[in-house]
């Protein structure tokens, strides 16, 4: 699970900045629809944070407060849960403070995730992935089943398509994440009985910390 930043840091930062601008400048248009708001603007901010802050988060010093990636992955659960609350989502349209909080929280999460993923072993990752995907899928199902509008600013049709998109996204994220984890899990399973038996790895040494 080593995250290599193949593009030069400067190129990654440039793309990250472009994502941030793409999320911020057409803000009114993006936020006019629930679907664009949740599944275009929010991911754009997250990716911006990832590309701008990611190289910093994989450094060992960042790992001091994020051993096994648990801090960043817990942050992921809270931030994603919060912005799936329809009332919070709608507040961000009307309140500059909440809007600033939305950008800040997703940038921070994006910046932390690459490091956390690099530090978390596959069991930890599966635990958080399960929680995250389950929550997102349930939210998507709820959005589709609610007979009333969850946000006053978004029509019911928009809410239903957002719900469908959330379910699709939750499945897609789970598949993509498992796809990335598959080689690690396979490598572990080929060993007799356990995770520490590789001669190259000393027992008791945390391969993932730092």
């Amino acid at each position: 699970m080593k995250l290599t930043f193949a593009p030069t840091p400067r190129a990654a930062a440039a793309v990250g900045l472009a994502c941030l601008l793409a999320a911020a400048l057409p803000r009114v248009w993006l936020e006019a629809s629930m679907l664009r708001h949740m599944l275009l603007q929010l991911p754009l901010i997250l990716v911006a944070g990832w590309l701008l802050g990611g190289p910093w988060s994989v450094k060992p010093r960042a790992g001091a407060v994020d051993q096994h990636g648990v801090t960043g992955l817990t942050l992921m659960l809270f931030v994603s849960a919060y912005w799936m609350i329809p009332r919070a989502l709608e507040l961000s349209i009307n309140s500059p403070l909440v809007e600033a909080g939305k950008f800040a929280s997703l940038l921070l999460l994006g910046a932390m995730l690459p490091g956390s993923l690099a530090r978390a072993n596959w069991i930890v990752q599966l635990f958080f992935l399960g929680n995250f995907s389950w929550m997102m899928a349930i939210a998507g199902i709820q959005y589709q089943n609610m007979p009333q509008q969850l946000c006053n600013a978004y029509l019911l049709d928009d809410q239903i398509s957002t719900g469908i998109a959330l379910v699709i996204a939750s499945i897609a994220i789970a598949v993509a994440w498992c796809w990335r984890l598959a080689p690690v899990i396979t490598a572990n399973n080929q060993l007799p009985n356990n995770d520490y038996a590789t001669p190259a790895t000393k027992p008791g040494v945390d391969r993932h910390a730092g």
């Binding site: 809270f78 849960a81 919060y82 609350i85 009333q148 029509l155 040494v205 910390a209």
Partner: protein, 222 residues
């Protein structure tokens, strides 16, 4: 080697635990705030709960009802509890249902002799609803002016301020219609928005209004 790694990692665990605690505390507080104490998730429920916790003074608005005046004067000089809904006169969807509900409520108020306790007000958010248009709409709805007024707000910025204060969001919908969060808004004797009830249950709105009318004055004028 092994012990030193272990002791390093166990003493190094503290910053992670502290950070984790911080994330959980901040995240929990945010979720608490976003759901108003884990009570709700929708904006409309939030609007209703906020009003029920703290009655809201309404902004100034020049209105035609159909004769010119101000909303504050209309509400303040009356002494009755007002049940307010927002409409536009060309509406074919929920407002026409609201219209017939108001007709039934008007009959109910007359039947129970509550004319001096409760009144009905329909406020239009559509600038095309001028005084004559609303007067015509009132005739079609068989509105009794003593009980049920159709009100238009003259100035665009005051209309927006009023809608914002009530928390009404009007969205353009297909076929030249509007979609908006419809509800019964109960205005207390001091002209404050005090309660919001469900549009599907006019009987409940009327009961709340009667209760408010018969409750002793809470001194809101101070």
């Amino acid at each position: 080697m092994k012990t030193s790694t272990n002791s390093n990692s166990s003493s190094g665990l503290l910053p992670t635990l502290a950070a984790l605690l911080l994330v959980c505390a901040a995240g929990g507080a945010a979720l608490y705030q976003g759901t108003m104490g884990f009570e709700l998730v929708s904006t409309e429920d939030g609007r209703r709960l906020a009003i029920s916790r703290a009655p809201l003074a309404l902004p100034a608005a020049d209105i035609h009802q159909p004769e010119p005046g101000t909303l504050a004067k209309m509400l303040h000089d009356d002494g009755r509890i007002a049940i307010v809904t927002f409409i536009y006169s060309t509406c074919n969807a929920v407002c026409s249902v609201l219209g017939s509900q108001y007709q039934q409520m008007q009959d109910e108020i007359r039947k129970r002799g509550l004319q001096d306790q409760v009144r009905l007000i329909s406020i239009s958010f559509d600038p095309r609803d001028t005084a004559p248009v609303l007067a015509d709409y009132a005739r079609r709805q068989h509105a009794d002016p003593a009980l049920w007024r159709m009100v238009g707000v003259d100035k665009a910025e005051q209309r927006k301020a009023l809608l914002d204060a009530f928390g009404i969001v009007v969205l353009p919908a297909p076929m030249g219609e509007f979609q908006h969060n419809a509800a019964f808004h109960l205005i207390d004797r001091h002209g404050r928005l005090a309660r919001i009830t469900d549009v599907d249950n006019p009987a409940q709105a009327l009961e709340h209004a009667v209760n408010m009318a018969q409750a002793p004055d809470d001194g809101g004028r101070l």
